[in-house]
């Protein structure tokens, strides 16, 4: 009888163990497409080829065909142009046209095929074709949009503005994709390998002190937060946004 009770106690323990293992496996499974796009460490298979393409400056197209958006959309459909015709599915937007003026941000990773598949209308971005009959029907942005404020084409947007107006307007209207600066392009952060000076075998507090040497604001923010004070608004608690003030410093024993 005593032996049987011992066995019954083992059942929940085993069940819990199975749960933990399966959850761990699920977490290790491949992340979805969206997570890939936002993962800063992700590299496209053709990353180096894309980097090469980003360096190219194509000849400037000064004249384009004047046609309405709907006409163009329909014409491209009639031609049967679509996702299957895409030559390069991935671009790094890092044109020297922009970088000759400023270089504050890293390249933007643009998934051409992904956007095309989502929008299903090439004419949204490829909104005009070169007047030259021999040119391809769809050309890259930087064929028509290069330096800003060219005297010969004063009403033509520069490349940087063309990107920003197109991307921001669409991301906003569709409520999809990143909306903040860093969502699309990482800042050119100086290499911290050179900046960080630590003793040979650093203690955790050595690291914190070293971070605070250049980022004192981050420390002050932390000292004002509920993580430090154990009291204050639980701002991001579902259904309790900025309504309840609690924390270990006030009402709760442990609200984590």
């Amino acid at each position: 009888m005593k032996k049987r009770i011992w066995f019954l106690g083992l059942v929940p323990v085993l069940a819990l163990l199975c749960l933990v293992v399966s959850a761990g496996r699920a977490a290790a499974a491949a992340p979805s497409g969206d997570e890939l796009a936002l993962d800063p460490a992700w590299k496209a298979p053709d990353q180096e080829a894309a980097r090469e393409r980003a360096r190219e400056v194509v000849p400037f197209v000064d004249a384009v065909v004047d046609e309405c958006q709907l006409c163009r959309q329909q014409r491209l459909r009639d031609m049967g142009l679509g996702v299957k015709d895409i030559v390069h599915s991935y671009f790094l937007l890092d044109s020297p046209v922009i970088k000759q003026r400023e270089d504050h941000y890293g390249p933007v990773r643009f998934m051409h095929t992904k956007h095309a598949a989502q929008i299903q209308d090439c004419a949204v971005c490829h909104h005009a074709r070169p007047a030259d009959k021999a040119a391809k029907e769809t050309v890259r942005c930087s064929a028509c949009h290069q330096e800003s404020f060219r005297a010969d084409t004063p009403d033509r947007l520069g490349l940087k503005a063309a990107y920003h107006q197109q991307c921001i307007a669409c991301h906003r209207d569709e409520a999809k994709g990143p909306m903040d600066c860093a969502g699309c392009h990482p800042k050119n952060v100086p290499d911290h390998k050179e900046l960080v000076k630590l003793p040979a075998n650093p203690q955790p507090w050595d690291v914190t002190a070293e971070c605070l040497r250049c980022h004192p604001g981050a420390g002050e923010d932390m000292l004002a937060s509920s993580h430090w004070l154990w009291r204050g608004h639980s701002a991001y608690t579902l259904d309790h946004q900025k309504k309840v003030i609690h924390g270990k410093g006030t009402t709760a024993i442990n609200n984590f």
Binding site: R101, F149, A151, P154, K160, A161, Q165, C181
Partner: protein, 308 residues
């Protein structure tokens, strides 16, 4: 001639009226010494501005201005309306004029403020030492070496732009947008703000070209824009111009007349004092009165009594 006190005023008054009439009749078109024919300009398209404040940041960098109290990336700065000051030549303000988006959220409109670089600048007209001048490329240029710190420019400016370094008692300067004079004087040079703007909300170019660009944008998209280019005619035209989809009055723009601000003051000054005719006339008149009355000695007590 028996010149009485009352008689004197009568003659003087008549002469003054004649002088004023003479001043009014020859009215040459008074125009500021040098209004550049085709200066550089900037066209700010308020429908394009996303309020990122990169222009403020670039302005701070290229003009080596002091660090701001709050970071350029702190969006809470936009919670209150600001003015350009001695530490910032340009600021971006956020307005909610009342439009709603698809999600019933108020749509913000952002307005960048800086010196408008008037075609006929009131500050340059008011400046008594010529420290402020209108340059051929459109800049209203400030020369600190000439400035005596009278701050008349601050009073004169119809847009209330120039600021003063009150915190510096020894070498204070008048502070306002320089139009990046040195930068745009070089070939291909751009003002810091226009160069950094990610959406080309600021378009840089020749003023005449920009007016055409602005008219084309309004013509091509009459729903998006009001048919008004702020700065085309305001105070006689400015080098910085704005187009918008929202009435300018709702966005903090000052309702200024189309007459250049210095027109009246300069007209008065240039007509009244041209060739010193008015002082010559006045002193001539006074001299004439003295001449006609010179033979009469002091009035006798009897005469004085008579008149009373």
């Amino acid at each position: 001639m028996n010149l009485t006190r009352r008689g004197f005023f009568r003659i003087a008054g008549a002469a003054g009226a004649a002088g004023a009439a003479a001043a009014a009749s020859p009215s040459p078109e008074v125009r500021a010494a040098a209004v550049p024919d085709d200066p550089y300009g900037c066209l700010v398209d308020l429908t394009r501005c996303i309020g990122c404040r990169k222009c403020e940041q670039a302005c701070n960098r290229v003009n080596a201005l002091p660090e701001p109290e709050r970071s350029f990336e702190d969006p809470t700065v936009l919670n209150r309306l600001r003015r350009p000051d001695a530490r910032a030549f340009t600021v971006v303000n956020r307005y909610f004029p009342g439009r709603l988006d698809a999600g019933n959220q108020l749509v913000p409109t952002f307005v960048k403020i800086q010196c408008m670089h008037c075609q006929e600048p009131a500050c340059a007209s008011a400046c008594i030492v010529g420290a402020l001048t209108k340059k051929e490329n459109g800049t209203v240029h400030y020369d600190v070496s000439k400035c005596i710190g009278c701050r008349y420019c601050m009073v004169a400016c119809p847009f209330e732009i120039p600021a003063y370094e009150y915190h510096d008692p020894v070498t204070p300067r008048v502070m306002k947008c320089t139009y990046c004079y040195e930068r745009i004087s070089q070939a291909g040079g751009l003002p810091g703000c226009a160069e950094i703007c990610p959406t080309e909300a600021i378009t840089f170019g020749r003023r005449k070209t920009l007016l055409e660009v602005a008219r084309k944008r309004i013509r091509d998209n009459p729903v998006q824009y009001l048919d008004h280019i702020y700065g085309e005619r305001e105070v006689g035209g400015t080098s910085w111009m704005y187009i918008s989809g929202i009435a300018f009055g709702k966005l903090g723009f000052i309702d200024v007349p189309e007459t250049p601000t210095p027109r009246l003051s300069e007209k008065i000054q240039h007509t009244l004092f041209a060739y010193l005719w008015s002082p010559i006339l006045l002193y001539g008149l006074l001299g004439g009165i003295m001449w006609t009355s010179r033979k009469r000695g002091p009035h006798s007590e009897a005469e004085e009594g008579d008149r009373r």
